[in-house]
Amino acid sequence: MKLVIINYGAGNIKSIQFAFNRLGIEAVLSNNAKEILNADKIIFPGVGEASTAMKKLKESGLDELIPNLKQPVLGICLGMQLLCNSTEEGNTKGLGIFNTVVKRFSNDVKVPQMGWNVIKNLKSDLFSGIKENEYMYLVHSYYAEYCEETIATTDYGLNYASALQHKNFYGVQFHPEKSSLAGEKILKNFLNL
């Protein structure tokens, strides 16, 4: 199993690498096209601001490489958002894998949403063994609108897509690497896809 975490300079990716280490899997951090193409599984992370992150992807040509990947890809947090059509954050065009848009939470709720919330309406092998209403750790100010590709939802002022899937592309808004045992189970499931 060759696991690559795409390293394009967006945020803290050590936590993801450590989480896989705890599962006994060595994850390689890389922005090298060849190395990414040769991986069995790919993690597309992201923390920070969307337009800055997209700029970094373009600088390294990853914006063209990622949408053509055939292996299972897991976008986490901003990584998931960048796989959508667009995001309101910095008026950024996304990679267009998931047919939905990313919007800012309204001020009826505290922004960012920070802490543990539940995921439900689970429908994907990614959640095999995960019960409905399991708690996950989330930190975000923008959310993906519910769409046909939604494989989990969360309520925060409204019902939004907290996980998405299109073909070999998976995306989760929460941080499985920081979501205790249930989060580790999801990472394990991804490795078994």
Binding site: N12, M114, G115, W116, V118, Y135, H140, K178, S180
Partner: protein
């Protein structure tokens, strides 16, 4: 529904836990990694490490500790204490900290909040505020509460939010160490006037205090040290009690 968070706070000096911690089955009470793992197993939602090292060497050891915690702990954690530069924050985040908290350095140079939230994102910038109520007015204090300023708590909190902080950790100097409950009136005012999460700190003595700070203080999270370290309030029982009082928590 987003749950209320319970956050144990650990004081760290030269990479070791300092405040007396009294857990059963703990091989090394001074080992932050082992303590952090125990708290994660007990159901803590997050952890805060406060670095009280006085020397540069001490700080360097803390950086190593952060790396070890990140390697082994599967819940989020914040590191605070003596942080005043972008480079220091970068090093902490690179070592695996999820959030950092700044306090005096933000008061001395408020632009630091803008710079950090722009570079690393609001989600990892916690601004800690120590304040004391004097003649009815809440005044911000610096350097662990030892230096008073003329800055009003609520005005400063508003500015902190506008500058891009993702969260505020408010400690009442009047309540800290008393075990008489949190500063719920001030907390509720903060929570109602601001639109970012507020962590209550200072005054936890029993379970009812936590119920009150979530219900009356409208806090999003509650932080405590000694009541957890000495096992006076086991976290799992605290969370069950909160649930019994219709407060949403992760069980």
């Amino acid at each position: 529904m987003l749950t209320k968070r319970i956050i144990p706070c650990l004081d760290i000096k030269n990479g070791r836990t300092v405040k007396g911690v009294n857990f059963i089955d703990l091989r090394d009470a001074g080992d932050p990694v082992e303590l952090a793992k125990q708290y994660a197993d007990m159901g803590a939602d997050e952890l805060v490490f406060l670095d009280i090292s006085a020397t540069l060497e001490g700080r360097a050891t803390t950086l190593e500790m952060v790396l070890h915690v990140a390697e082994q702990v599967n819940i989020p954690f914040t590191v605070g204490g003596g942080i005043s530069s972008i480079e220091h924050v970068d090093a902490l985040l690179q070592s695996g900290a999820d959030k950092i908290s700044i306090n005096s350095s933000a008061v001395k140079r408020p632009e630091l909040i803008n710079e950090l939230s722009k570079k690393f994102g609001s989600q990892c910038v916690v601004v800690a505020i120590d304040a004391k109520q004097i003649n009815g007015l809440w005044k911000v204090h610096l350097a662990g509460g030892s230096i008073p300023t003329e800055i009003d708590l609520f005005e400063w909190a508003k500015e902190v939010e506008e500058r891009g902080a993702g969260e505020i950790l408010f400690t009442s100097m009047n309540h800290d160490g008393t075990k008489n409950g949190f500063a719920n009136e001030a907390l509720a005012k903060l929570s109602e006037t601001l639109n970012i999460p507020i962590i209550a700190s200072g005054g936890a003595g029993n379970v009812q205090h936590f119920i009150d700070t979530f219900k009356e203080g409208k806090a999003d999270a509650a932080l405590a040290a000694s009541v957890f370290h000495f096992g006076e309030i086991p976290i799992s029982e605290l969370k069950k009690e909160l649930k019994n009082h219709n407060i949403e928590v992760r069980l």
